[in-house]
């Protein structure tokens, strides 16, 4: 490309950076990935796991769109479990314990093999902006200016990173590499607003110094599927995790040392996540709890280091030692690395468009923890979307935006760019109002078509997807079309599978909707059924069994779509629209929602404001102003 070192530069090699770079390269753009260190590419500086409620759905969506995270964890997991099996089809979620070393190594190998993609170790200190105000590249310490048509910043918690352990604190990134100081200032100079967040991590201990006999064993499961639609089931030889609990003595130690806890002395000012509080916060906020869970999770296969999930802390190292030793099974545990809190700067995510491009600097995209999120899965999802949109941008195409009713990724990004976040944002299923339609089992049915359209899903895989989709559709059609007679013979068979006789002729599909009937049990009265892969059976069963609820949810989606389809003009002066509150004017001018639906989700925009906006849009429509509408 003319004068460019690459089409797109990705800054940062974490989970966001990796997905962004791969998406760009796979769509045919040339990519330069700049990282502070080759060994820390795709590292997991916090807990060694991927998935869980909400997050598993993200990973499956990444896979359905042609991303890498799902395949990478399927190839390198230590243990896999299916959570929430008893709580319903919408929230069943895979969760894997990762081999941190293997995960990173495999991802680096994937990057290395990708054509169009180069990785370079460099320290980025600035963003180059052209005369027209759009991003032209970056400036590195090593090489000076490096040119590209678009830049994706995915620097995680490196911006202005400060680590705290007790009363000691120092400037650092999470993996012991230097914090990125200049880049943060450079972004601020471009007019981008920054916020300061905090997150914490747990102490790591030597495996051979713990006594697991005092703990509960947690085994993995043999499952018929993994994260990727392209990999098969899980293997039986999985590593173990263990569960133990804090004691009243632990809590005493913590309480006695709160005077040395940076969270309580005022040394830490950044906002921490409520869903991932430090152990000191848990003890202070829930004084009535007699114990808190501590999970021992291996960091690598046959490795020597165990992660103490649930014990995130920034207490002084000597207090951590005392605290850890008060937990059954950890009496003699040797701490390899104490827990720490890290404060870092991140972008205020309302600086971003739904494409993850910054509003103020065209061609500059941001993805991952720098956008105020937490979690590897959230980062990877944004990386993928930023990568896709950077390529679409330089090709002059419309951005790729997923709706809240299409994907958890849509929920994630809409939440960020519409509401912003006052704490590190983590995905949860309760954030997705349409989660019954956004299940992990149907992620490919929702998204693989789109991934193929973008050029991220290769033909061969797309063929396999089409075949699976055909199987699902055919089987649903067959079951709803097969009528069961209401005769005595059938009644006997129904009694045998523990369900009431029929009042009238019923389809197999309707029978499946009975709570006590499963697809498997139905085999007795369905001799002609085809042999189907288990993942196909799963989708079919859920779609039919919960058809009533799914219909209900579709109704809710339609209801909301009425507001989503009322688009707001691109350049509205919200100060001139009558009837808006001052707060609404400020928020709307800042966020510039695409639709009335999005406006309604902005905090501080009241129903009265929405009425005023509707009235405004209506009056424009009457005057034939539609041509101005929409993004």
């Amino acid at each position: 490309m003319g004068g460019h070192d690459a089409d797109i530069i990705v800054v940062g090699g974490g989970h966001a950076g990796c997905e962004a770079a791969l998406a760009c390269a796979r769509m045919g753009a040339s990519v330069l990935l700049l990282t502070l260190g080759w060994d820390t590419v795709a590292a997991m500086p916090c807990n060694p796991s991927i998935g869980g409620p909400g997050k598993a759905q993200l990973v499956r969506e990444i896979d359905a769109l042609g991303g890498e995270m799902a395949r990478n964890i399927d190839a390198t997991y230590l243990q896999m479990r299916l959570l929430n099996t008893g709580k319903g089809p919408a929230v069943r979620s895979l969760r894997a314990q990762a081999d941190k070393a293997a995960y990173g190594a495999r991802m680096r190998e994937v990057l290395r093999r990708e054509r169009n993609l180069a990785v370079e170790v460099a320290h980025v200190v600035g963003v180059e902006v052209g005369a027209d105000g759009s991003a032209r590249g970056v400036v590195t310490r090593e090489r000076g200016p490096v040119r590209a048509a678009a830049v994706i910043i995915a620097t995680g918690t490196y911006l202005g990173g400060t680590i705290h352990v007790g009363d000691r604190s120092w400037s650092s990134g999470p993996q012991g590499q230097p914090a990125a100081e200049e880049l943060g200032h450079a972004l601020a100079k471009l007019g981008l607003r920054l916020a300061r967040f905090k997150t914490g991590t747990s102490p790591r201990v030597r495996k051979d110094s713990v006594d697991v006999s005092k703990m509960q064993e947690q085994r993995g499961e043999v499952l018929p599927f993994g994260f990727s639609f392209e990999t098969g089931g899980t293997r039986p030889d999985q590593e173990l995790c263990w569960l133990t609990y804090t004691t009243p003595r632990t809590h005493e130690i913590i309480r006695a040392n709160l005077g040395r806890a940076p969270l309580y002395t005022g040394a830490i000012t950044g906002r921490g996540p409520r869903y991932c509080p430090s152990i000191e916060t848990k003890v202070v906020q829930f004084p009535a709890r007699e114990r808190h869970q501590v999970f021992l999770e291996p960091e690598t296969r046959n490795g020597d280091v165990m992660y103490l999930g649930g014990l995130s802390t920034s207490l002084p190292a000597d207090v951590q030692e005392e605290m850890v030793h008060s937990v059954p099974g950890l009496e003699d545990a040797e701490i390899v690395r104490p827990g720490y809190a890290i404060e870092y700067d991140c972008l205020v995510p309302t600086e971003l468009l739904p494409s993850l491009e910054t509003k103020k600097v065209p061609g500059l995209f941001a993805a991952g923890q720098i956008n105020g999120t937490s979690g590897y899965e959230e980062a990877a999802s944004q990386g993928l979307i930023a990568g896709i949109n950077a390529v679409l941008k330089i090709r002059g195409k419309e951005p790729f935006v997923l709706e809240r009713s299409e994907a958890y990724i849509g929920v994630l990004i809409d939440d960020l760019v519409t509401k912003g976040t006052c704490e590190p944002y983590r995905m949860m299923t309760s954030r997705a109002e349409y989660r019954l339609t956004l299940r992990q089992d149907n992620a490919d049915l929702r998204l693989t078509e789109k991934g193929h359209g973008l050029g991220l899903v290769p033909e061969e895989r797309y063929e396999r997807f089409l075949a699976r989709r055909r199987l699902v559709r055919d089987e649903i059609e067959r079951l709803t079309g097969t009528v069961v007679p209401g005769d005595a013979e059938t009644a006997r068979m129904l009694a045998a599978i523990g369900t009431a006789p029929l009042q009238a002729e019923t389809s197999l599909g309707d029978l499946l909707a009975r709570p006590e009937v499963t697809y498997e049990k139905l085999a007795a009265i369905d001799p002609g059924r085809p042999v189907l892969p288990q993942d196909v059976v799963q989708v079919v069963e859920i779609e039919l069994k919960y058809a009533g609820y799914i219909r209900k949810q579709r109704g809710q989606i339609e209801r909301a779509r009425r507001l989503e389809s009322r688009l707001l003009p691109l350049h509205v002066d919200y100060w001139s629209i009558a009837g808006l509150s001052r707060e609404a004017r400020e928020k709307l001018s800042d966020i510039r929602p695409r639709s009335i639906g999005q406006a309604a989700r902005i905090s501080g925009v009241s129903p009265a404001d929405i009425m005023a906006l509707l009235a405004y849009v209506e009056s424009g429509r009457h005057r034939g102003e539609d041509s101005e509408l929409g993004v």
């Binding site: 409620p53 319903g88 309760s430 809710q556 309604a600 009056s619």
Partner: protein, 483 residues
């Protein structure tokens, strides 16, 4: 005093265009804001950035010579004059309420003038001549709503106040304006949020020690909340009686004193009947007020078997009127023995319900209560004398009690709700029942959550809030989360 709001846009091209294309609500509106009629006082209200300026152009001191300045929050006595001719129109009290501390959050001036359509419309004309625009129906309320001064339920309450036919109706609407319905809904809504948070915590944090939700407790809570919503809906229905009123047909044999009873009922209360536009004042029906319940009394032709075709037509109409009515007053002449004709009327009215008026109590009684009760199907019997005015108050009390009890079966803690709010309450209750039914039937928790969210959606239609973040806040404050 400074007029108008801080709205001084820089006229860049884009802004100008948007400004021009309108929905410009920064004009000044005016209307007569009291019911038209021969009332003692009538009010002309002006709202908008030019309200104060317009008002001071029209308003002179009592001598009529000098312009009178308006003092915020003060009442000023003066003369309203025609801005063109200087002619005096009416004496008035003017009050100025500067933005944003007025009903519309705009500058507001109110002229309290002599009631009566003549002076009021001339004052309004004068205001319009000075550049105000005639307000559309409900436009003041709409501005109050759009300015965030009142929420949707409150806005609807204002309309109710304006339309209120009796004091009780107005009091209920006023309670609603102060947030009566919203407050009741908000407290129930908090319980729904808590219920949802319990499910969501279990679903989103399966590995934390939040405990499995107790399915039986969830269905119980959902049903309890649904029944509280239904109770609120019932109280709201009850409130609707005070707003919409009931129709009571006065039926009976010919010449038992139906018309004089009608007159007695109307006569006693005529002074407090308000003028309601659109109500016809013909001889056979009129609105009255019984203990705060607006009652439309309908007189009917006497009911009896007859061969006369003209009279038969009258009887037919009486039957129709009885069918359309909410309640009946069966009038029986107590000074004559109970006849078959009386019994026939009682039988006919018994399906409708109402009261039996044993009329002519001023004459020696020939019918006792115990003669009537076997035919009255539970209708209470009240002795009255339409002529002497005896027992009328007791009959009114009976009818009012029946009207309220009939609709809702409750008589305390009423709230006013519009049909829209009523529907939202009922849909929310139905969704919660559905959730309970689902959990009972073995539906997983994530599906029950769909119904509970649906209930929240409908409650939010009343309070105008949105719940998503609240559920999370609730989870984090109630449960110790964080593996």
């Amino acid at each position: 005093m400074k007029v108008g709001q801080a709205r001084t846009p820089k006229l860049t091209r884009g802004r100008e265009r948007v400004y021009m294309q309108g929905y410009a609500e920064n004009d000044t509106i005016a209307a007569i804001s009291t019911p038209l009629g021969e009332g003692g006082i009538g009010i002309v209200r002006i709202s908008g950035p030019r309200a104060l300026e317009i008002a001071s152009r029209l308003f002179r001191d009592p001598s009529g010579k000098r312009h009178r300045t308006l003092k915020p929050w003060g009442l000023r006595y003066g003369i309203v004059v025609d801005p063109e001719t200087g002619e005096e129109i009416d004496e008035a009290l003017a009050s100025a309420m500067p933005a944003p501390h007025s009903f519309t959050r705009e500058d507001v001036v109110e002229f309290s003038c002599h009631g009566g359509i003549g002076p009021l419309s001339r004052v309004l004309d004068a205001v319009l001549k000075c550049g105000a625009r005639l307000a559309q129906p409900g436009e003041f309320t709409r501005r109050a709503f759009l300015s965030g001064r009142i929420d949707l339920a409150q806005a609807e309450a204002v309309i109710e106040i304006v339309r209120a036919r009796t004091d009780s109706a107005r009091r209920l609407a006023l309670a609603n304006l102060r947030g009566g319905l919203s407050a009741a809904v908000v407290s129930i809504r908090d319980d729904v949020v808590a219920l949802l948070a319990e499910l969501e915590a279990a679903v989103d944090f399966p590995e934390d020690d939040v405990g499995e939700p107790d399915h039986a407790a969830i269905t119980r809570q959902a049903r309890e909340t649904a029944s509280r919503l239904r109770g609120l809906a019932a109280r709201a229905r009850c409130g609707r009686v005070y707003r919409d009123g009931v129709t009571v047909a006065i039926v009976g044999r010919p010449n038992v004193g139906k018309s004089s009873l009608l007159n007695a009922l109307l006569g006693r209360s005529r002074a407090i009947v308000t003028d309601v536009p659109g109500t016809t004042r013909d001889a056979v029906e009129d609105w009255t007020n019984m203990r705060g319940v607006p009652v439309r009394l309908v007189d009917t032709a006497g009911l009896r078997e007859t061969d006369d075709p003209v009279e038969r037509l009258g009887v037919e109409r009486t039957r129709e009127r009885l069918d359309e009515a909410d309640l009946a007053i069966v009038v029986i002449d107590g000074s004559e023995p109970l006849s078959d004709g009386d019994v026939a009327v009682l039988r006919r009215a018994s399906g409708k319900g109402g009261a039996v008026a044993l009329n002519k109590s001023d004459l020696p009684p020939k019918v006792s209560e115990s003669d009537v009760v076997p035919h009255a199907a539970g209708m209470p019997v009240v002795r009255v004398s339409a002529k002497a005015g005896a027992g009328i108050g007791s009959l009114e009390g009976t009818i009012a009690r029946l009207a309220v009890g009939r609709v809702a079966g409750v008589s305390e803690g009423m709230v006013m709700a519009t049909a829209r709010q009523q529907e939202a309450l009922e849909r929310a209750a139905a969704a919660l029942d559905e959730a309970a039914r689902g959990v009972d039937g073995g539906a997983p928790l994530d599906l029950a959550a769909i119904d509970i969210r649906e209930a929240l959606f409908w409650l939010d239609q009343i309070t105008g809030r949105s719940a998503s973040d609240e559920v999370l806040d609730k989870i984090f404050s109630e449960f110790c989360i964080g593996k």
